[in-house]
Structures are given as C-alpha cells and as structure tokens.
Symmetry: C2
Subunit: 324 residues, 2 copies
DNA sequence: AAGAATTAAGTTATCGGTAAACTTGCAAGC
DNA sequence: GCTTGCAAGTTTACCGATAACTTAATTCTT
C-alpha cells in the first residue's frame, strides 16, 4: 500500500520510505499492472477502440494517424480494428473490444449491424462516429457531409459545361460515404439534364490500380464521357495514367476530377481538380471529442470539419457547341 | 461458476441449465469482462502491441495491414503505437503497453533505447522485431536484409554503366533500415569507383512531395548525377515528376530507381526500376511468428522474407563514352 | 503533562472470472 | 441395503491496485 502511494505521488510517506520503494522498483524491474487498476474499477481504462475500413486507401491512413497521434498525447492507446468495409467484421471486432472495457470507441462510418447497435447502446460508453457526418449519431459525430461534397463537384462540372459524365469508384456491401458522394454528385448532374455513367471496381481498395482499370473498363463500354469523377485522388491519378496510355489528353479529350486532395496530387504537373478535406483533422477532432466525453465534458454532437473544392487544370470550360 | 462453464462450453452442466444461462445472458445483455480473466492470470491476454514508425509511408501501412489482418484471424488484437521514428516515443509507448500485460510485441526496427531494452528483457514475453532482419534479435526477427537490397541496386546500376549516382531519402534521428540500404548501395557503387551524392529531406515522411523537392534541391547543387536512387517508390515518383517539370527525360537525361515496388508503380507508363518486397507478407509472418511463440511453439529466430530487383524502363544502359 | 491533532504505515475489502476443491443428488452394481 | 461412481452444481481462493479504514508513533496545544 505504501509502495502504491509512492508510485502515485499521493503523499503520506516519509522521504526515506520513498527512496526505499523506488530503489526496490528499480532493482526488481517492477512494472505496474494497469489491468488490475482498471479491473478494480478505481480508474477508467485508457484504451480506445478504433475501427478503420482499410489502410490501402491513403485517406484512412491519414485519419488513423490523426487519431492515434492525438490519443497518445492525451494518454490513451488505440486498439485497432480493420473491418474490410464489412459490418460483420465490425460487429465481431466490437464484441471483442468491448470485452476489454475500453474508455470509448471511434468508429468509421455511420452504419452498423443490428447486433452491433445493441451492444454499443448497452455498453454505455462514449462513441465517436467519424467520416460521414451523422445527423442522429449514437453519441458524437465528426466528419463532413459527403453528399454535399459530391453535389458541389457535380455543380462545378455542370457550370463548366459538362453534361455526360461518369463516376469510377469501388464497391462494397455497405452503403458508405463514397456512396453518399456519388448520390450528391448524381443529383447535381441530373438536376441539370446531365447523365452519370457508373463504373465500379467490385470489392477492391480505392487506390491507384483500380482507378486505372476502372477507367479502362468504363471507356471500353463506348459510353460518351466528357469527364470522370473518381472516388478519390489516387484512383483519379490511376485514371489519368490510363488516359495518357490511351492517347487521351486531359483535359482536352476528357476531364478528370478526384476527391480528398491526397498526397499524390502534390507532385502532379497538372493541378488535379478535387475536394480538399483535412483527414488528419478529422482524426484529431475525433480523439479530442472522445476524450472530452470520457472526462464527462460537454461536447458538440455533430462536428463538421468542412471541405472545399480545389479547382484544377484537369477539367476545362466546355463550349456548348462542342457537345453532342 | 456454472454460468462461467456454460459460456466456455466446458461441460459439467445440464441442457436445461445451459438454456437458462444463455437466456439470462441475452436478457441482461451480458458481456464478459476479459480484463478479469486475464488479470486473474488464468489465461493470457490477446493483446499484441504493434509499433510502427508512421503511416504516411505506404510501406508501413501495408505492413500494418498484414499484421492486423493476421492477428485478427488468429484471435488477437493490435494495440497501435506510432512512434514517429523516435526511440523516446517508442520507449514511452513500450512502458505503457507493457503495463497492459500484452501477449507479445511486434516492433518495427532493430534499435531500441537502453531503458526500452531493459523493460523488454524484464517483461519476458515474445517479441518480434520486423522490417530489418536482425542477426541477434531480442527474440524473433522477420524482414529482409536492407543492406543487401541496397547493394543489389548499386551493383545493377554499376553494371548498366552508371558511376555518378545520388540518393534521395528522408532522415531521422535513428539509424534505420533506409540507412542500411544506403550503406549497401554506397558500398556497391564506391567499390567500382563510383560516387554517391546524398540528399536528405530532414525529418519528413518518405512520400511523394519530399521526393519532388529533394530532387529539386539535389539538382540545384549542380552535382553531375546520372541516376538517382530513392528511399522508396513514392519518393521516386515525386522525383520523376520533378524531372518532367524540369524538362529532363527519364531515363535519357537521368535514371530513376525506387524501392519497395509500391502501389503507385502499378499505374506508371514507364516501368519503375525498384526492389520488390512483400510488405504484407512481412506483417503476416510477424503475426504468425508471434502467435507461435505465445503458444510456446518452436519458431525460427530469423525469418527472411526476401526481395528481388525489378528491372524497369527508368534506367538504361549507359555507354562508357558518354560519361565525363 | 494530558489530550488533541498530525503523520506514517499497515489491514481489509473489492473488482469478475475461473481453477481447484468440495458438496449434493441420483443411479447402477453387488 | 449399502457402497461406488459420476454428473451437476456450489464454495473458496486468487490475481494486483487501491479506497477506506485502523493503528502506532510523533508533534502540537493549552
């Protein structure tokens, strides 16, 4: 008991005793057992469960980097769960991670299985849902409105004069943020009598090569396409590379728009038209919100990180006469 | 006690009792407290501490994806620690994660602080050091010989006729695997009377933009450079983009070599000369080795995943007469 | 100098799951 | 009828840190 007091600087011991304890700690290589502390219920765990769909898509790597960095600085540890975009994986991970009595959870995405929802509600701990802003979150939501970001890109392309456009992305079992972007995009395009051709790379990760072969497949259909909107910048770059190989000039023959303002865009010799989102900030804000809730502080239910369109050189103003 | 037996399918109860227990479990929304089980020492924890330098460098994302995926399938959870390439961060993370009684640790890199080493030895649990193969690991080592991979690239460039070459990478406080690659590379080059000009992007992440501006800075020095070897493919692509902007043709005016055979290379219209390494496999093997050690199974001390050189179109055979 | 106040250190109980030891009830065997 | 065997279920103790309480020794107050 006295040793416990010394190690926690709680006072109530003499200098001599303190020295004797610290000497023994050193000699024995003693390391405290946090399990016992948390188990006894005297203090809360410093574990935070963090679910991420995958790390192949660089935007999620950045989100995770933001989460873990901030959690660490606040004295918490991340318990990782890569869910591969499936609710079943998420559910089984939630079950496991809850049995470890975490301080809270950070979940990517707003849709969860029925049983996951039951467990989450029953657990009664802080939950931050990130990525897709949620008007009725389980607890706290941090992210952006993906529908709106897709809509804004749609409006922008319409204003430039594009009407026959396409979308290239990946497809998973669950309705996700990318789906919401596509819906917003489609709404903006069709509202102005445009058309959206869709091309999905089934069950692939949203990175360079699916952008490349998704574009190849799209153009092989012979669809009249003036501009392609991609799920993210990595896929958009893959698409640009296909266009180059196919002898199509960008934006002369075809327009290209990405999403996420990702690292690869920083070195391209054409400025890529995209939507800027601070992925790191989403992660950081999520961690801050979670820790605030753990500490019982007030915390906004919905935290919009915002986005803005990045106009680039990969789209151009299309004269009305050149179409059709 | 009977409930505990039912939940663990241990036998020693009647069907009726079993049903009664499961019914109550459902009704109460009972979730087991793994903390208590592990704390009591009756079974081992299913936590595995995983330290990774950063996620901005895509190779580490892939390693982590391999680790977490395999750990999950074996019934373990990853507790993440992003160490930002510093031994101090690693040390403080080790101290914290050890207090949670993990089943074992997976550490990226082979160098650790003195105090970290003392804690690791004292903890007496399985430790897998990944990335840089270690002839005298703490416990188990999984990775490749980075020195050799750099040496092989050096030999290859020498054979093509290159003599004045450069290296562009990032620099951190610690000697790391990238440093070992550079040493192997330098040895191969200088052994054949070649020269290596070095250019480091200090304290930056090994990704696209540092490759771009590192190349800019290198070429601004006016050094006679025939070929540049980069820390990885992302940086190499950044460098290629700078060359294009500067009006230098690749490989006509300058040769480019990367490392890691990373995703971006899959969409380039020139095949990038690189070293192929299965990052995912390193992660998977590390997890398997760790779980084997936890289960008390025999396990090789040193696990070489291997690499091979990928010849590409970004270097060419240099005629002896064209030099100097 | 007697009693109150203060400080230092020790004792007990607790968290939840489960190993080990134990009790109970029932049926088969002789 | 009595023992034996076994299945079903219960009790106790333990893991380590620490809150709450107790005890012992010392210092302060009037």
């Amino acid at each position: 008991m006295t040793a416990s007091r010394v190690l926690r600087n709680e006072g109530g011991y003499s200098e001599a005793t303190r020295d004797r304890v610290l000497e023994k700690v050193e000699a024995l290589g003693y390391l405290p057992n946090r399990l016992a502390t948390v188990f006894s219920g005297d203090s809360r765990s410093t574990f935070v469960g963090v679910s991420i769909p995958d790390l192949g898509n660089e935007v999620f790597s950045q989100v995770l980097e933001g989460i873990d960095g901030k959690l660490r600085s606040l004295g918490y540890q991340s318990v990782l769960g890569l869910t591969q975009h499936t609710l079943e994986e998420e559910e089984s991970w939630i079950k496991t991670v809850l049995s470890w009595q975490p301080a809270g959870l950070i979940l990517t995405g707003r849709s969860h299985s029925r049983r996951a929802l039951a467990m989450l509600r029953g657990a009664g701990l802080p939950i931050v849902e990130i990525w897709d802003l949620n008007s009725s979150p389980l607890d706290v939501s941090v992210g952006i409105n993906h529908f709106d970001s897709g809509f804004e890109m749609g409006r922008y392309l319409i204003e430039l004069g594009y009407r026959d456009v396409a979308y290239v992305g990946t497809s998973h079992d669950t309705a996700n943020a990318a789906t919401a972007r596509l819906e917003g995009f489609t709404k903006a395009i069709t509202a102005s009598q445009g058309r959206v051709t869709r091309q999905f790379c089934l069950h692939d990760t949203a990175t360079f090569y699916p952008g490349f072969y998704g574009t190849e497949q799209l153009l092989a259909t012979g669809a009249a396409v003036e501009c392609i909107f991609y799920q993210n910048d990595s896929m958009a770059f893959g698409g640009m590379q296909y266009c180059e190989r196919a002898g199509l000039s960008v934006p002369g023959d075809i327009g290209i728009a990405g999403w996420g303002d990702m690292p690869v865009a920083s070195v391209l010799n054409q400025r890529l038209t995209s939507i800027h989102v601070s992925h790191l900030k989403i992660g950081q804000l999520a961690s801050e919100a979670l820790v605030a809730r753990v500490s019982g502080e007030a915390c906004a239910t919905s935290n919009d990180v915002g986005f803005h369109l990045v106009p680039g050189d990969t789209v151009r103003r299309v004269a009305q006469s050149t179409r059709r």
